[in-house]
Symmetry: C2
Subunit: 340 residues, 2 copies
């Protein structure tokens, strides 16, 4: 398997990205390769500094003269910077020279480039980003968290199918319970798109659809898959990060009122929590629905995140998630267009 990684994307690129690629090597199998995409000179010099000559044959470099900034307008940047690392990385996939792509760079540019170059898999109208929330009761896969901010009913349905396949075949949850994010449990709750999506989801007996869920249910062990439109999912994702940080800050503040000793005693607990519930552990978010394996990592990705993204991408690829999605969508009667 050949995994192309955007070496120039992310707040800590290229150093942490390169370090992550190196850390990932020990998780590779015979014949696996990593392709670092970015400024050849910069990558080569960093690799030399890290004394990783021994990885020749496993890690290679594909030159990309330009990089897209984290705050650049995706479409403008993709148009103007023809030699950017994200475009070149996705081109490798579309030309059959890479089996997976990974980037911690500009999310909008990644999604757009993957859609443009790799195209959608059969039966999928719009791809969606799936994020795994590590909750107390197990991992919850939420889709979409930002690829599609004006969701049509058919999109919700396909997100449910795709995230279910991911939950089952990558996370090992046998019959994932799918919840539709709304503002109340009753059938009548939600906007028009959500209500129509509910009908589509109900009509497919091969989805373990449990009905509407509310914001609180994600952390209550009620579902394994949560389906929502990208606007809502993105707010949820970022809110969760902000709230966890805010709460730990408040706890520390309160503990300090007790004693410094108590803070120190609490520290290992906090560290364990961070390790367990940290999104870096999940390595990034798969872009479900594109014709290939694509992982979008958080802008703050460290080497550990990239290493874990490589492991996740390998699982995605070897467990043939896209084939499972195609198979499910081929046999369902639920059809629709983005106009519905």
């Amino acid at each position: 398997m050949r995994i192309a990684i955007d070496a120039m994307g992310g707040d800590h690129a290229p150093d942490e990205i390169i370090a992550g690629a190196i850390e990932a090597v020990k998780h590779l199998e015979q014949g696996d390769e990593i392709i670092l995409v970015g400024d050849e000179e910069i990558i080569a010099s960093r690799m030399t500094a890290k004394k990783v000559r021994k990885y020749s044959g496993i890690i290679s470099i594909v030159h990309a003269p330009e990089a897209i900034g984290m705050d650049e307008s995706p479409i403008d940047a993709l148009r103007k910077k023809r030699g950017n690392s994200i475009s070149i990385m996705t081109k490798l996939a579309s030309r059959g020279k890479a089996d997976a792509v990974i980037s911690a760079g500009n999310t909008g540019a990644c999604v757009a480039a993957c859609q443009m170059r790799m195209r959608n898999i059969e039966g999928v109208n719009r791809p969606g980003i799936a994020v795994v929330f590590p909750t107390f009761d197990g991992p919850v896969t939420m889709c979409d968290v930002g690829a599609n901010i004006s969701c049509k009913p058919i999109n919700y349905y396909q997100y449910a199918v795709m995230a279910s396949m991911y939950s089952r075949h990558v996370l090992g949850i046998e019959n994932p319970r799918v919840g539709l994010m709304s503002i109340g449990e009753e059938d009548a709750k939600g906007n028009e798109s959500v209500k129509k999506a509910r009908e589509l989801l109900k009509s497919d007996a091969d989805i373990n659809f449990i009905g509407n869920i509310e914001g609180c249910d994600i952390f209550k062990g009620k579902c394994d898959v949560a389906v929502c439109e990208g606007f809502v999912g993105n707010v949820v994702l970022k809110l969760t990060e902000g709230l966890v940080d805010g709460l730990f800050k408040a706890i520390k503040h309160e503990l300090l009122k007790e004693s410094l000793r108590l803070v120190m005693k609490f520290k290992p607990v906090m560290m364990r929590m961070y390790q367990k519930y940290d999104h870096h552990e999940y390595g990034g978010a798969p872009l479900l629905g594109v014709n290939g394996t694509a992982y979008i990592c958080h802008g703050s990705s460290k080497s550990r995140t990239i290493k874990n993204a490589v492991i996740a991408a390998k699982k995605f690829y070897t467990h043939k998630i896209n084939e499972h999605i195609i198979e499910h969508l081929a046999k369902t009667n639920v059809r629709g267009t983005d106009e519905q």
Copy 2:
């Protein structure tokens, strides 16, 4: 000031509601009255059991023979149960017999009844529910959290005006910073309604508009007011509750791995956090934009919540929030219809 309270609404009605009304008495001023609306016999017997005869003249009862269940369809229930406590409570307001209404009952029914009976204040197209998030960096007022799930640009704008007035005159924040909930800071981020709302907000120099905010920013001290549509706000509100509960559960689990003694040491910290960040402390959410003072409390309201809602409603009324909103909307050039 006469405050009508729906004695039949909420998971712990009528006992906790009646207890809350009694607790609130010591926060009333000369001439203030509380009107408990609900089944006269039940309320009277509970009051007798609580030996509160001494409150005659302060607490009175208005009979309502029916009650709307928490899970009933709001519009159906309001239509079929003509004698329900929510309708009778809002009728008291519309006939000038109550200056404020408070209910912990069916939220949808409350919003609909308030709109129908009390009407909107001048210049307001749609009312919105404002919730105060007690964050580490101070209270953040978010509007709307569920009254309006298909927001037009003019609604966002008016929510910003109304929540700003609330933040300033009830919470005492002099020049509240208003953020528009979106999925990125840049101007181009967000759906069409949000982008148009952004232009309306920018055009009013009397609003301290700081631009787009993301989910994480609510807990980062970046804004005092967060504006969003009801669907998003409702998910945020419920997610926050679920996540805080989930996190404390996880912390307890981890602490128990260390020692029971550590759990006991952490307990007072946890209690203080709960007290400080607990939504019961804020007493409920004002329904901004209706012609009167209306507070909608959480279904799980305890006596403390109701007491605090009475205190908040008194502040809302005496600080003339509606007059401030009318004044702001009268002088702004920002106009629009729900069709825009």
